[in-house]
Structures are given as structure tokens and as C-alpha cells.
């Protein structure tokens, strides 16, 4: 028992060192732009850079559209499967796991070849089309997380009983979806949304290959040309990721607790 606790502390301390030293070092490094003193100059330069503002806004908007698209694709499917087509669950779960197996670069390569300017569906012929394709790609990447979050949310509220109860009380489909199901899975949907946001905001591969003015390619450009600004950007990115995860944790406290059915 005693030695177990000792080793637990050792493992924890080593892990903490591995994870915190780079973060602290990065932070320290980001303060060194002005010679000889610590300053937030690197942050000022980065945040004041119009390209930073433009690309960051672009990625935020792309993330918001990604979340909307993800919700539209995932929520009806997850709900319908819980309600009517449980036999499809293995297939749908398999599909939602595919983006974890097929690398993003492969997916976007497929898009470029399939939806190029000369194809029947020429997404890449226009800027708007290319941006749409980026949002679609992001929605694909976030599919595993979104589906899982929503499905877990639906599981805890027992949709079948809720739907039947609403039907008995005379509710129509639109009422059921907007007044019964969505409010109850809102927390789950938001959790999935923030996770999606964290994944999408600095994404490089797809944005770069689709040639979009997104935050990821901007980061790459700064990283290749500057010394201290990248460190400041790394800290900012870490803070954004942390913010998203904290929001998910806070939200989970408001999530409906598992009702009558344990599974």
C-alpha cells in the first residue's frame, strides 16, 4: 500500500514535469521579444496583426458553420436510431468512427479530386464553394465526437419514452423536436460543439490544401518566419483549447442526470 502510493506520486510528478515544463518554457519564451526584459510585446504584435484578426475570424465563422452542419446531420440520425431504427446503430457507429481511421489529409485529397473545378459538383470552382467544402470537411472530422456526445445525451434522457409521452399528450413532430428533444440534449450538443470548435480552430491540413485564408495556415506562416510570436500563439491556442474544455465541464454539471433507464 505504502509503496503503491510512492510510485503513484513518482508517476504523477514525472508526468507533471513532462507536461508543464514545455508550457512554462513556451510562456517564458513568448515574453522575450524585447531584449533583456520580459514583455507582452509578442502578444501585442500578434493580436494587432490584421492578418491574425482576419484569419481568426474566418476560422471562428467556419467553426460555427461546422457546428450547425454537424448538428443538422447528427441529431436527427441519432434521435431516429434511438427511436425507430436501432438495427442501424452498428452501421452508423462504424461510419462515425471512420474519420478516426481515415486521416484528414486523405479525406481532403478525395475532396480535391472529386469536387474539383471540372467535376460535376465543382465546389472548388468558387471561393464560397471551397469554404463550404472546408466546413464540410470539418464536420466530417468532428463526426465521431459530435455523434458520441449527442448519443450519450439521448441515452440519459430515454428519448423513446419522452417521445411517446409527448405524442400521447397530442404533440406534433415539430413540437416534439423543438420543445422536448432539443432542450434535453442541448447540453450534449453544446459539449460536442465546443469540442468541435477546439479541433477546428487551428486546423492546418484541410485549410491549407483547400487554400483557405484560415487560422491554421496563418499559424504555419508565422511559425516559419518569426521567433517569439509563435510561442505567444501557442499559449493563445492552449488557452482557447482550455476554455473550450472548461465550458464542456461546466456544461456537464447542468446535464440531465440519467433518468429511469440505466442504459
Amino acid at each position: 500500500m505504502k509503496s503503491g502510493k510512492f510510485w503513484a506520486w513518482v508517476v504523477f510528478a514525472l508526468s507533471a514535469a513532462y507536461f508543464f515544463i514545455p508550457l512554462l518554457a513556451t510562456f517564458e519564451f513568448s515574453l522575450r521579444l524585447r531584449r533583456g526584459v520580459h514583455s507582452f510585446d509578442a502578444y501585442q504584435i500578434v493580436l494587432g496583426d490584421p492578418r491574425f484578426q482576419a484569419t481568426f475570424m474566418y476560422s471562428v465563422i467556419a467553426a460555427i458553420f461546422t457546428i450547425i452542419l454537424g448538428v443538422l446531420v447528427v441529431v436527427p440520425a441519432a434521435y431516429w436510431i434511438r427511436l425507430r431504427l436501432p438495427q442501424l446503430r452498428p452501421i452508423v457507429e462504424f461510419i462515425t468512427l471512420l474519420p478516426l481511421v481515415i486521416p484528414a489529409i486523405v479525406i481532403v485529397f478525395g475532396y480535391i479530386r472529386m469536387y474539383g473545378s471540372n467535376s460535376p459538383l465543382p465546389f472548388l470552382a468558387s471561393d464560397l464553394g471551397a469554404s463550404s467544402l472546408l466546413v464540410i470537411g470539418y464536420a466530417t472530422l468532428s463526426l465521431p465526437y459530435m455523434y458520441r456526445a449527442v448519443d450519450t445525451g439521448l441515452r440519459t434522457i430515454d428519448v423513446r419514452t419522452l417521445t411517446e409521452a409527448a405524442q400521447i399528450l397530442g404533440a406534433g413532430w415539430s413540437t416534439i423536436i423543438t420543445k422536448v428533444i432539443l432542450p434535453n440534449v442541448l447540453i450534449a450538443v453544446l459539449s460536442g460543439a465546443f469540442l468541435t470548435f477546439a479541433i477546428v480552430i487551428g486546423e492546418f491540413t484541410m485549410a491549407s490544401l483547400l487554400n483557405r485564408p484560415a487560422f491554421g495556415p496563418y499559424l504555419q506562416n508565422i511559425g516559419a518566419n518569426r521567433a517569439y510570436e509563435p510561442a505567444a500563439l501557442a499559449i493563445i491556442a492552449f488557452a482557447i483549447t482550455w476554455g473550450c474544455m472548461s465550458l464542456i465541464q461546466i456544461l456537464s454539471r447542468f446535464a440531465p442526470k440519467s433518468a429511469n433507464r440505466p442504459n
Binding site: A8, F12, Y18, L23, T26, I95, I107, A237, M245, Q249
Partner: protein
């Protein structure tokens, strides 16, 4: 929190209730899942199939194996695969065991409770902290002018670059990838460890088992499927990762995703057929890893529901 687990429970399905009406009301029954299937077929399955088919065709659409043979015959490509597999394999294995050790330490090690929740929160963040910012952080830390590099040189008189350290080596990339691999393991395996019932250990003890026997006969077999599934996930996770490595050296680094990136961008030589083959090879490798996992699990884990 990354609430995905490739573990056993998620696949559990309930038998469908007998529903005679299903066959007759086909169209309305499918309406709810139609957007999902249309979306995934158009933007996940067809694009992938397009590449797979393309890998077996030449420029004029004739069936050929030349593209795939080139993966093996071109030493720079086969070498890229080899390096990628090595990096992914070792970062998955090391990340998995380190993550497991950390998970066991915070769940079963008798550490204060706040350590457990702080570690879990941090792991949720760090497992999603990848790509370019991660590379920037490590450059600021262990780069040629990084803080820790300077510290080691000035205080301990250790010049790690003279000793052969470099982010562009297999070991260098593994060190960096562990920053998201370990936390991902923690996030997925902690619920599995929590699922180990205290009574199992007590039952084993009353039956005369030592702690070691209990671990060998119960704990390890029970955790094994989740663990193995996560190892596969970690493997795929680093096999497809590109941004971090790209930030270190741009297109110069010879790993598969960067090779493919260059092909697509036309940096090297524009040959889509070869690109298809490289992409196909990537799918085959991550796919094989999963097939191995599924095969292994169905063979040895009959006790899973």
C-alpha cells in the same frame, strides 16, 4: 472532454423490437437518417473510394498495379512509410503505457482527489492540443534557442544538439507526439479503470489470490480490450498527423502524410495516381490496425457483451 471510446460498451446494441410495419413504411422510416447517410456517403465514403479506385488505375483509367508497386520500389516513399510506422508505433506504445501508468496512479494510487480531477481536465485539453501550436511550444522549449535547451547547456553543460537530439529524428517526433498521445490514453482508459469493481479485488483476496494473481487473471484481461483499442486509436492518431511535423521542417521531413501533402500541393512532382496510391497505403495501414484489433477482440474476448 473527448468522450469517445473505442471500447467494448459503445458497440453494445439492443435487439430491435419486432416491428412488422418496418418493411412497408420504408420511405418515412428512413427520413430521419437520410441526411446522415447522404452526407457521409458524399463526403466521407465516396471521396475515400475515389482514391482507392484511383490507386489501381493509370492516367487513362486502365487497371494497373504500377502505382502501388511504386510505393515499394521508390525508396523515398517506402522509407517514408517505414519512418511513419515507426513513429506511430512507438508513440502509440509509449503513450499508451505512460498514459496507463498515469491513469492508474490517479485512480488507484491513493493520491488526493483534486489531483485526479485536475489531471483529467488537463488531459482533456492536452489531448486536443496538437498541430502547429504544439510544435511552437516544443520549439520554444527544446529548439536550438529553446529555454530548456539553453538551461541544459548553461547550467548542466549538456548540449543536446551536439548529442544528436533533433525534432526531425524519430525519437524527437515521438517526444513531441507523446504530448497528445498520453493524455488521450488517460481520457479513454480512466473510465475503464473506474469500471473495475472494488468487490472483484476483494473477492479475489478472499479466494486467496495475491495482488499479482488478481492483476494477471482479472485486471489485465478486463482492461485489455479498451487498452488495445486505444493503442490502435493512438497509432492512427499519429499516423495521420501532419501539422506538427510540418511546422518543424516544412516539406523536408520524410513521413507519409507530408509526402502526400507535397504530392497534392505539387511541390515535388504532380502525379495524382501516385498520390492515390500513397493515400490508399495510409488507409490500408490504419485499416489493418483496426482489423487486427477487431480480429483479436472477437477471438479472445468472448465475455464482452
Amino acid at each position: 472532454m473527448t468522450d469517445l471510446s473505442l471500447s467494448n460498451r459503445t458497440i453494445a446494441t439492443k435487439p430491435a423490437p419486432p416491428n412488422a410495419a418496418t418493411a412497408f413504411r420504408f420511405p418515412t422510416q428512413w427520413i430521419g437518417v437520410a441526411p446522415f447517410f447522404i452526407f457521409t456517403i458524399m463526403f466521407l465514403i465516396l471521396p475515400t473510394l475515389y482514391l482507392v479506385v484511383g490507386a489501381f488505375q493509370d492516367g487513362d483509367g486502365h487497371l494497373t498495379l504500377d502505382n502501388l508497386l511504386q510505393l515499394v520500389s521508390d525508396p523515398s516513399i517506402s522509407n517514408a512509410y517505414w519512418v511513419s510506422i515507426k513513429i506511430s508505433f512507438w508513440s502509440a506504445i509509449i503513450g499508451a503505457f505512460a498514459g496507463l501508468a498515469l491513469a492508474i496512479a490517479i485512480v488507484r494510487g491513493g493520491l488526493p482527489n483534486w489531483i485526479r480531477s485536475a489531471t483529467l481536465t488537463f488531459s482533456g485539453v492536452a489531448s486536443n492540443f496538437a498541430g502547429l501550436p504544439l510544435a511552437f511550444a516544443f520549439i520554444a522549449t527544446l529548439g536550438r534557442v529553446g529555454i530548456v535547451t539553453a538551461l541544459l547547456r548553461d547550467v548542466f553543460n549538456l548540449n543536446i544538439y551536439a548529442m544528436g537530439f533533433n525534432f526531425l529524428t524519430t525519437a524527437g517526433l515521438i517526444v513531441v507526439y507523446l504530448f497528445f498521445q498520453i493524455p488521450l490514453m488517460v481520457v479513454i482508459i480512466v473510465p475503464a479503470i473506474d469500471g473495475l469493481k472494488k468487490e472483484w479485488g476483494e473477492a479475489a483476496a478472499t479466494l486467496g489470490a495475491t495482488q499479482a494473481q488478481y492483476w494477471r487473471m482479472v485486471v489485465i484481461p478486463v482492461l485489455w480490450p479498451s487498452f488495445l483499442g486505444t493503442v490502435i486509436l493512438l497509432f492512427a492518431n499519429s499516423f495521420g498527423a501532419i501539422a506538427t511535423a510540418y511546422a518543424f521542417a516544412g516539406p523536408a521531413l520524410n513521413i507519409v502524410p507530408i509526402k502526400l501533402y507535397s504530392q497534392i500541393n505539387g511541390d515535388v512532382l504532380h502525379n495524382p495516381q501516385l498520390g492515390y496510391a500513397i493515400a490508399f497505403g495510409m488507409i490500408v495501414i490504419t485499416g489493418l490496425a483496426n482489423v487486427f484489433y477487431i480480429w483479436f477482440r472477437t477471438r479472445s474476448e468472448r465475455w464482452l457483451k
